[in-house]
């Protein structure tokens, strides 16, 4: 699938946070990634005005977003951010 990515800075120099705009919404992504063998834990919070989801992958990568929106926030583990990022972006690229 197509996506665009941009680094999302915060107050901390070692943060490895990125925002992705997908050609699908968060609910579609969640369904697909739950079908993979990447996920350690996942959660949907439908008690907020706009329901959210969060996923923690086995390598420590955290994905968060709104179920109904096409933008996700991804935090990679600082210790191995480059590999974790490459792995997720490979998966996204190959996700149909």
């Amino acid at each position: 699938m197509d996506f665009s990515v941009q680094k999302a800075e915060n107050c901390f120099a070692d943060a490895e946070n990125y925002e992705y705009r997908l050609s699908a919404n968060g609910a579609d992504l969640l369904a697909a990634i739950l079908d993979s063998n990447l996920v350690a834990t996942s959660r949907i919070n439908d008690r907020l005005r706009r329901p959210t989801f969060s996923v923690k992958l086995n390598d420590g990568t955290q994905i968060k977003g709104l179920l109904a929106k096409d933008v996700i926030k991804v935090g990679y583990p600082p210790a191995d951010a480059a590999k974790a990022r490459a792995d997720l972006e490979d998966w996204l690229t190959n996700w149909v």
Binding site: N10, N45, L48, R49, K69
Partner: protein, 384 residues
Amino acid sequence: MSDFIYLNNAATSWPKPPEVARATSAALDQLPGAANRGGIADFDVFAALRQELATLLGVDDPARIALGANATWGLNLAIFGCGLKAGDKVLSTNAEHNSVLRPLHILSSEHGIKLHYLDCDSCGRIPLASWQQALDELHPRLAVFTHASNVTGAVNDVKALTAAAHQAGAIVLLDMAQSLGWLDAIRLADWGVDMAAFTGHKYLLGPQGTGGLYLRPGLELQPHLVGGTGIRSDLDTMPPEMPLHLEAGTGNEPGAWGLLAALRWATEHPLCAQRQRIEAELSWLKQQLTALSPSLHLIDPGSPATPVLSMTIDGLVPDDVGGLLLDSYDIIVRTGLHCAPLIYSSLGVDARLGTVRISLSRFTSHQQLLTLLEALDDVISSEV
């Protein structure tokens, strides 16, 4: 007008009075000013702005106000320009913003200046007794402190802190980024403040890219930035008289028009009644937040304070709280360290996380705060 609920006024105030955008825009459509060469028929917006600011700051001579990009510009000008030499001591506090900490770090690491950071109290306020003690021990050449903490809103006693610093032989630099435009009865001359940096884009309600530095009569700075002044171009150095001495390069004329419009609007719409309303709203909000959940911890600065409230929530990362408020509720707050990375040990807050900070303005409504409360209730009850 946006549907967002904007509670980040300690960073940049919003909305602005409509006159600000009109004046800024009009300035871009009209002929530029005469770059310090104005004749008798010329309206010098910078001079008019300086005059308004002098009244607001409680100083007599508008020419002692150099105009620049923001408070950071003014603080750098003062810190780098006041002639500190290797071995000189500087007293500051752990409540300061990076616009103070980073210039001081350069002076320390590259020029041998000795720094001492005094711990603020658990509300973010500078304790006078500790300040006095540090001054007595150090006899610093320069004392730098913030008028109001940008993390907690705690307002410091400028008059007393300045008097103590003077008694120890220090000159005083005051960071007014958070105070000018919100606090009344500012009297820099009466308080004896030597230098004070301010910004236009926070509680003065002006555009970003405006601010400056007040320098008391008799005190001279070495310009940190030098360049063209439009006049006396045949000199090798900056003209000696203020404010030209500290104002290199073409000024932000549209910004000056915008800030002037904001100040005139504020004169026509005095803050006093709105300040009382907002202080009452903040008081109410603190009660509501305290009752909301035992996992929510407020940093209550007491009084006096600017309309800022920082909090932490057990089990939640401030950045995540801010993200949920924005994404799910269109509420804009600030999270993290707020560019004041040293204060957290005094506040009992994890410096790897920081706080969730809300900051109100005179335009904040009760309904907006109700929505914030509902949103925080949802977030805490479903995420903690």
